[in-house]
């Protein structure tokens, strides 16, 4: 999965015509999730673009799922978590966001979608964007890491980014929102520990080995969310 191939319908514009404003939107948690949801609904109901790419960050928080939010322990676990807890509608388990975690959201309009296709665009953009920075990442599972799935971005056998997707019918098409949380800089061990503590407070048996996740800053000098977003956007513009 190294080549992005976004299908461009004849009636749709391939990309946003120009970048408006800043490259990365920054929010106090959990407003980033609301930003993403609002853009998804806007894209689903009214966009004539084949795809849109957004970059955003938010302040430190845990982001969990509706299934976990239904657990009877949720209120207490959230109240006792030193990291504020937000709930998103996409799948998976619990992850952490902070200013050094670059959230990448790709919206696509497709004729049809399957799970592989839903993830191929975002994974290709990130893998190829990282290659621009001299980083050789790959896509795959890592069962020992939080919020594991088949479409993690891995670097040296550690989880660099998690992904999730949402697929929604829209007339005779489907709209896909694929999201990645890419660890660029910061203390990811503290994030992993916060996830484990929260999930254990939910009554889950969460144990993640130290070092199961990594940041780009552990591998690349002078890296930040802006340079990573710029590299991914460069790949997107080439499609």
């Amino acid at each position: 999965m190294t080549t992005a191939s976004l299908p461009v319908e004849a009636s749709l514009h391939p990309h946003r015509p120009a970048d408006q404003g800043r490259l990365i939107a920054s929010f106090p948690a959990p407003e980033g999730i609301a930003f993403e949801e609002a853009h998804f609904q806007q894209f689903r109901t009214g966009s004539d673009m084949a795809s849109e790419l957004h970059f955003w960050t938010q302040s430190r928080c845990l982001v969990t799922t509706p299934a976990f939010a239904r657990r009877r322990e949720f209120k207490r676990a959230s109240a006792h978590s030193p990291w504020p807890v937000a709930v998103r509608r996409s799948g998976g388990a619990t992850i952490f966001h902070e200013p050094g975690v670059l959230c990448v959201t790709l919206f696509e309009q497709l004729v049809s979608a399957n799970i592989e296709r839903a993830y191929s665009g975002i994974c290709s953009l990130i893998v190829n964007g990282l290659r621009e920075l001299g980083v050789q990442a790959e896509v795959g599972p890592l069962p020992s890491a939080p919020c594991d799935g088949r479409f993690n971005i891995l670097l040296d056998g550690r989880k660099l980014a998690g992904t999730a997707a949402r697929i929604s019918p829209a007339g005779n098409r489907v709209v896909v929102m694929a999201h990645a949380a890419l660890l660029v800089e910061g203390d990811c061990r503290a994030g992993v520990e916060a996830v484990a503590a929260f999930e254990n407070a939910l009554g889950l048996d969460a144990a993640y080995p130290s070092g199961c996740m990594t940041t780009l800053a552990e591998h690349v000098d002078r890296i930040d969310v802006v340079s990573v977003a710029a590299a991914i956007r460069k790949i997107y513009r080439q499609l």
Binding site: A67, R70, R89, G91, Y119, R166, P169
Partner: protein
């Protein structure tokens, strides 16, 4: 009476999913095209729309495993 069926082409892989949330309650009136629920398969969420207008009868509760082609509700 219309059955709300998980479309066979909603996902291609031979995987089980589960309803993660119903956006309407048993007995609610729904309109054609309303998003009724979300189905979680792996880390992917699929939205299911109402095929017709009417009163919703839920057959499959949240977190119960489902497969493609399963009827998850009636609309009558």
């Amino acid at each position: 009476m219309s059955n709300v069926i998980i479309p066979a082409n909603l996902w291609e892989e031979d995987l089980e999913g589960a309803v993660s949330i119903w956006f309407f309650e048993e007995g609610d009136n729904v309109s054609e095209g309303d998003t009724l629920c979300e189905i979680m398969v792996e880390k992917s969420t699929f939205e299911v729309e109402a095929p017709a207008a009417g009163v919703l009868r839920i057959l499959v509760q949240v977190e119960v495993p489902v497969k493609k082609g399963d009827a998850i509700a009636h609309i009558g």
